[in-house]
């Protein structure tokens, strides 16, 4: 049981890093609280696997510290860290039975057989493996194997955290949600810190209470699934979360207002002020397709657009059009009327996000 703290942590695979681009992990501060269900989400190559290996001890960070509670872990090997890990491809000891697999981590440290029996029975029960205990591990299906490798982490009562590295990759789509549910159940029952690494937004947000979104070696947002959707802290989070992702448009200051491409924007005073106070040249406005209003008639704060394409996705539609020279999308419910070609769009203020140098700036109302 432990709180995991990353203190001024950074990692570079090259011995003499010269710039930030040489770092797989850029300097970060981060705390994973005891008992939390966390996800580490990002596209391939964002540094999430590197970070995972640093936490589990398979990799020693080049800078900074990894702390479990108050103890510095940098130099400790994985076996000394009380960490369990579930890998992308199920790792089971083929020649052993399921029972022996589950007992293995306990027997390695000389646990009494009576205790082993008790722990294995408990874990097998939770994971619904009881009927398979006498089977050889090699003959199991992928999802059963993955449950066994999860079980090997759960039997130990000294485990500080369980790390999951894309554990559902090889599981049949129809079984995935069952395993996800199982994971949640286990988390609630065992009160263990769990960190789940994935590139899939569905898996991250289903499993985790809080998600760390990684992009180019940095955690760009650490928040609940709801926060990632409603208030993305970085343009990448806006793009990466949600299908389709957030609409983003670059804006420039003009004498009196703000312009996007050739369109003069009508913005509320606080937002306008925030943009005018900034010195940056990289200013963007973002709004999710779910929040763009598409109207048939012009009104206050509307902009005319020409609809390029309508995708009927069954119970909703995605409308694409060009706004200020960039492609925009809006989501329409199925019973909403859709204008033929010319439409008017409006951006409700509450859902409009301001990004300066790619990071979100909170604007007071």
């Amino acid at each position: 049981m432990a709180q995991i703290t990353l203190k001024a942590l950074a990692h570079s695979y090259s011995p003499n890093p010269s710039g930030p681009e040489d770092y797989a992990i850029r300097e970060m501060e981060h705390v994973w609280h005891q008992g939390g269900a966390y996800a580490l989400l990002g596209p391939s190559g964002c540094g999430k696997s590197t970070l995972l290996n640093i936490i589990s001890g398979l990799l020693t960070p080049s800078d900074g510290q990894v702390l479990f509670d108050d103890q510095v872990m940098n130099e400790l090997a994985p076996e000394e860290r009380n960490i369990a890990q579930v890998f992308q491809f199920p790792v089971v000891y083929d020649t052993m039975t399921v029972y022996d697999n589950l007992a293995f981590p306990l027997r390695n440290v000389g646990t009494s057989e009576a205790k082993v029996r008790e722990r294995v029975a408990e874990v097998a029960d939770v994971l619904e493996l009881t009927s398979l205990l006498k089977r050889k591990a090699r003959n199991l299906t992928a999802d059963e194997k993955q449950k066994v490798s999860m079980g090997r982490g759960l039997v130990r009562d000294d485990v500080a955290a369980i790390l999951f590295d894309e554990p559902l990759t090889v599981i049949d789509p129809q079984l995935k949600w069952k395993l996800r549910r199982k994971l949640k159940e286990i988390h609630e029952r065992f009160n263990i810190t769990m960190i789940y690494v994935t590139h899939d937004q569905l898996e991250a947000s289903t499993f985790a209470d809080k998600i760390a979104v990684m992009y180019e070696g940095q955690v760009v947002q650490f928040g609940t699934p709801r926060e990632l959707f409603e208030v993305p802290a970085h343009t990448f989070v806006g793009y990466f979360i949600g299908s389709p992702g957030m609409n983003l448009v670059e804006v420039v200051r003009t004498e009196k207002g703000v312009r996007a491409g050739t369109v003069d924007l009508v913005l509320a005073p606080p937002l306008l002020n925030a943009i005018h106070q900034s010195r940056s040249r990289n200013i963007k406005l973002g709004i999710r397709p779910e929040f763009v209003k598409v109207l048939a008639e012009p009104g206050e704060g509307t902009y005319p657009v020409e609809i390029d394409n309508v995708q009927d996705l069954g119970t909703y539609r995605i409308v694409s059009f060009e706004f200020a020279g960039v492609p925009f999308r809006a989501r329409l419910e199925e019973d909403q009327r859709l204008p033929e070609r010319k439409a008017y769009i409006r951006f409700p203020e509450a859902w409009l996000s301001l990004y300066i140098d790619e990071f979100r700036v909170e604007v007071g109302q």
Binding site: P43, S44, D172, P173, Q174, W177, R180, R181, K184, E185, E188, H199, D200, Q201, L202, S205, T206, T224, P225, R226, L228, F229, E230, Y239, F240, I241, G242, S243, P244, G245, R288, E290, Q311, D312, L313, G314, T315, Y316, R331, E333, E334, D335, Q336, R337, L338
Partner: protein, 362 residues
């Protein structure tokens, strides 16, 4: 060029892989083969391509019987799940390879490779080798090879499975555009109903080697012929609950009764299966006659901008598809609302007997 499959059966070692498939694909059409793993999608594609002759039945291409004609003599290309390219050739030579085999003049090859590459946004990569490309770029190269030769028939066997979902989104949109101007028949196999919807065109729903329904994609989705088609072509799957219609009311969940509304009034008394789409069940009352059901939360699956809420009570398990992110605790009690005017009714054999009117239809 039209492609007709006539009474196709395919049996391998006594196991039936394809049974009684009749399908007619129009020239220039984009067709999606939708079905779960082992539904027979790949087998059917192999038969269309001529990689495998069917056990029974005929394949007609532009009126000509090509059932026994080898794939080498047909003008077909195929893109696979795995990114298959020649590792020792550059992207340029990979894309040019089918043209070189066909002895197309050099200048013509150059023109067409560049045209195809720019269409697929890989023109800047032409000098690279496949190993130096990302997964998405490798698949673009493989697609380039398939597109460059002006095939009569292009087959895609789940080409996006191995890409992450942001790339899939981009690809889907591009594919629709790519095929708008082409006159070849495209066939695209997928396991994902939402991919079929996003791609549009026509959809054939396959299940256990049989063709359930074929037609314009929206039509198949909104007007499924039977309960199986409705289930196969919806993600999350349409909720199906048993219901009894008697005289003037409907009973399901044993103690939930509601009066037959105008639309359902034409149903004769008996047993039915009622289907309601996951996105039509809500957490708030939408209409006066919505049915209130008390349930408990199984799990809320959140997909960035959407929530798939699994709920259950003693009799059934329902899935709700909610827009936005909603958080629920496991086992939390909840009230959900079931719209009585958006119900599909299927008879005892599973055939559809009532389709709800679409409010937004145009």
């Amino acid at each position: 060029m039209s492609l007709i499959l006539e009474n196709i059966d395919h049996v391998v070692n006594g196991a039936t892989h394809i049974e009684g498939v009749n399908l007619e694909l129009a020239p220039g059409s984009f067709n999606v083969l939708l079905g779960r793993t082992l539904a027979g999608k790949t087998t059917l594609m192999r038969i269309m391509a001529g990689l495998e002759p069917p056990t029974r039945g005929r394949v007609l291409m532009h009126g000509e019987d090509v059932t026994r004609k080898s794939v080498r003599k047909r003008n077909v290309s195929m893109v696979y799940q795995q990114f298959i390219n020649y590792p020792a050739l550059t992207v340029y030579d990979n894309i040019a390879s089918p043209l070189k085999l066909a002895r197309v003049p050099r200048a013509e090859i150059r023109r067409r490779v560049h045209e195809t590459a720019s269409m697929l946004h890989i023109e800047h990569l032409l000098d690279r080798y496949p190993a130096e490309l990302s997964g998405g770029q490798q698949q673009r190269t493989a697609m380039g090879r398939a597109l460059v030769k002006d095939a009569d028939l292009i087959l895609f066997d789940e080409p996006l499975v191995n890409l992450d979902y942001k790339l899939r989104e981009e690809f889907r949109e591009e594919l629709r555009e790519l095929f708008k101007a082409r006159n070849c028949i495209a066939v695209y196999a997928t396991t994902e109903p939402n991919e079929a919807l996003a791609l549009g065109g026509h959809t054939a729903v396959l299940h256990q080697g049989r063709l359930l329904q074929y037609g314009p994609t929206e039509d198949v989705y909104h007007r499924p012929r039977d309960v199986l088609t409705a289930e196969m072509f919806s993600e999350p799957p349409i909720n199906v609950v048993p219901a009894i219609v008697s005289g003037s009311e409907v009973t399901f969940d044993r103690n939930v009764h509601f009066p037959l509304n105008q639309e359902l009034a034409k149903l004769s008394p008996g047993q039915y299966q009622f289907g309601v789409r996951a996105s039509h069940i809500g957490l708030e009352r939408q209409a006066k006659d919505d049915l209130e059901l008390e349930v408990r939360v199984d799990i809320a699956e959140i997909s960035g901008s959407e929530t798939f809420l699994h709920v259950r009570n003693e009799l059934f398990h329902l899935v709700l598809h909610l827009t936005g992110v909603h958080e629920f605790a496991v086992d939390q009690p909840l009230k959900v609302y079931f719209p009585t005017h958006k119900i599909y009714a299927f008879d005892r054999h599973g055939d559809v007997v009532h389709i709800p009117a679409r409010p937004g239809a145009h």
